[in-house]
Symmetry: C2
């Protein structure tokens, strides 16, 4: 391990803890002040780490923190992207320690955002400090840290379009993904896209007594359940007409390659505490979470949900439904197909409204680029292993956005683990991963500068 | 109208308002003090109205108010049943005036419980007063007013069994049902039973990120929707094996008689604001809500239900599901059939728990009894019309309980309207119905005494 990191380990942890204590939940307006506080904190941290310039850039939503250190215009420039906002902490009662009071247990930092993405983002700020204090910067570096990633990066496209000149770079470096395991480091080369919808089903114009009216009216909860159940068939195929039209059939070669990656389905099921897995017929669990699209209900509610019982037929029922997309599905098109289909299957006993929360395009990144090679060499040097190129199931819609707006490819050099429980209670991040990330990032800069010569 | 009622109309309303101001919600423990307050209030009201004895009888749950006036052991005795507890007020935001601050609009009293059952129950206390102050009591009267009707009358059976001697009577009189309309008074002769269940579906042992895991795990919300959708087929038939085994096929004669009752399906749909009705193939809407059993989801919840979006696969999803039963289905048996079936259709990607909230037996009351005839004559005298015998969709499980424990038939002389929005926001009760009920009840006592001679 780099001796500077060893010497500063406890301070690096304390600084991250300070950031984790700010409950910067972007999805819930009552945390708005904290989201702004986190932005200011990141700007200050950039300046302290050695950025020659940093500022909080206002947007129509939450601000984007921009920072840079330009050592020589002739050198290549790395644009680091990350986000300082976090997912809501609920269900809060399932946390074993308060989500915004980080604690260390078994070598892991427990806090909302510890992995996604404050911990991973802050590694880059500390890597900047490491380079500034030791080797110096082998490349120019720019930072673009946003506060709306968890709510669909609504204003990032606007910001990027307004700042094309300032954001000029040679590659984008992002740590917001996972490695296979600490024994099997990997680099994410594919990401699924997303269409996130919300539906409202209205039956009668008021809540009704289920005895007096039951049997003769379309119960919106039953109807919603029926409609949801029709969206995926018994083979796990999504039934929305046109949904698969643009889905890329992954080649036998790539599937054979994927099958070599360590992915133990029995262990996967055991970790989740389930007796059986589920999903699309004809694909392995590893394929189902990476190269195949999905449809999941993320939330459902309607009627009486309190203590005890109430014999009511609700007027309305709701669900949040999202689809993960694969190359070359288009998020806007899929959202429209969903809406059209959902409306078409509604019986005349109800009215439906379909709304759109957010989305993102799927992306695949090349493995033959200079940047990928530099990332692989950085892993080899720090971890002693060649990283495995992996497709991942999550979405980082901004990868497609950056390619479109800035003409730049991204390298997804994440250091998290899928078991970090991101978006769940008891999110955590290994101290090993945090420090190893801070060690690996400067090596990427070094190899990228050398390979770019 | 009875001149005593005319002279005391405004006081009769004020007294009811005082009772309606007590938020005696039995389903929610935080209203417990108010439920007890309502019991005390009813006891005092009985004594003021002329009961020679009244007391608040403790039970393992909320108390039962007992009262009586025995004028002559040789006279027949009428046992009045009612309840002083009310449904929860939620969704409270849909009320146009606060649920526990009664107001009169367009001749109707708006408040939770105004119809179900405080308004209808209190008519009997005022009818006692009317008789005591005018004609005297032609029968003995006993009152049994409970505080757990809206949560399944859990302790009523216990109380009745302990007080068989004290509750001795010739007939039970209950006002907790509706008439067809103010132009078409009716008497309820059939009631559906109820089995009220709660289900919990558990998928993974923690909330998961829908990108990382989506596609390979059974999403408990999707699974719950699939399972619910399987409970009722496309013809509106409930699919639980054995569910219909004991359902009585109502005779062609009775169905023909029913079809003569004024029930306008187009008006029914218009009132509910729906373009189409729903239900079991082969039955009219009127039949579907009265002589046929049902399965309705009364509440559903799971995953992220807050503002915005969260890309989560929930660990658990829940639903409250109730079935209305018809003669001769058995509530306990149906609950068991439901549980067995629901467990049997669960895929191995989830675990399910099925719990039981409460239930009640269906009941049919005779139309050839002295009590029914007395009720019909009372309606004829007060309303100028012969009441129509009607089967109603709701459940009053205590009708079967009283028959079993006390050997007594009930007369269901309700004065509400189905449009009273009981169990819904903006519950109301017509002042006309309230006063007409107070007028009709003493006439029942008169005719019942005469016919019993």
């Amino acid at each position: 391990m780099n001796p500077y990191i060893v010497a500063n380990e406890s301070r690096f942890l304390e600084e991250l803890f300070a950031l984790l204590r700010i409950p910067s939940v972007s999805a819930d307006a009552k945390f708005a002040d904290h989201v702004h506080t986190a932005a200011d904190w990141v700007k200050d941290a950039l300046l302290k780490a050695g950025a020659t310039h940093a500022e909080v850039c206002q947007t129509p939503g939450y601000p984007i923190v921009y920072g840079e250190t330009i050592v020589d215009p002739a050198l290549p420039t790395v644009l680091v992207y990350g986000h300082y906002d976090v997912q809501p902490a609920d269900p809060i009662e399932l946390w074993t320690s308060p989500p915004f009071e980080p604690v260390v247990k078994d070598g892991k930092i427990y806090a909302r955002g510890s992995s996604d993405d404050k911990g991973q983002m802050f590694m880059h700020i500390k890597a900047l400090e490491v380079m500034m204090q030791t080797t110096g910067l082998p490349c120019n570096v720019k930072f673009m840290i946003e506060g709306e990633e968890e709510v669909g990066s609504a204003n990032l496209g606007w910001f990027v379009a307004q700042n094309v000149e300032r954001l000029k770079a040679d590659v984008i470096l992002i740590s917001d993904t996972a490695i296979l395991s600490n024994e099997n480091p990997s680099i994410t080369v594919g990401l699924r896209g997303l269409s996130y919808m919300e539906v409202e089903v209205t039956g009668p114009n008021r809540d009704l007594h289920s005895g007096i009216y039951g049997g003769a009216v379309g119960n919106p909860i039953n109807v919603l359940c029926n409609m949801i159940s029709q969206l995926v068939d018994q083979d796990g195929k999504i039934t929305i007409p046109g949904f698969y039209d643009k889905v890329e059939d992954v080649s036998v070669e790539e599937r054979t390659e994927m099958a070599k990656a360590p992915f133990d389905e029995a262990e996967f099921a055991r970790d989740l505490g389930v007796d059986g897995l589920a999903g699309e017929t004809g694909y392995s669990a590893h394929e189902r979470v990476s190269i195949r699209p999905t449809l999941d209900v993320n939330g459902i509610w309607g009627g009486y949900t309190g203590e005890g019982s109430k014999t009511v037929i609700a007027s309305k029922a709701y669900a949040k439904i999202s689809m993960r997309l694969v190359p070359h599905q288009d998020s806007a098109e899929i959202s429209q197909l969903f809406q059209k289909h959902f409306e078409s299957i509604a019986p005349d006993s109800v009215k439906v409204k379909v709304g759109y929360h957010h989305g993102g395009q799927p992306a695949v990144t090349p493995t033959d680029s200079v940047a990928y090679k530099a990332a692989a060499m950085a892993f080899e040097e720090a971890w002693g292993k060649t990283p495995i190129p992996m497709r991942e199931g999550g979405s980082i819609p901004i990868v497609a956005l950056f390619e479109r707006e800035l003409g730049l490819k991204s390298v997804l050099m994440g250091f998290g683990l899928n078991s970090d429980a991101i978006h769940s209670p008891n999110e955590h991040y290994g101290i090993f991963n945090y420090l190893k990330g801070i060690e690996t990032i400067p090596l990427f800069f070094k190899h990228y500068a050398e390979l770019s010569k």
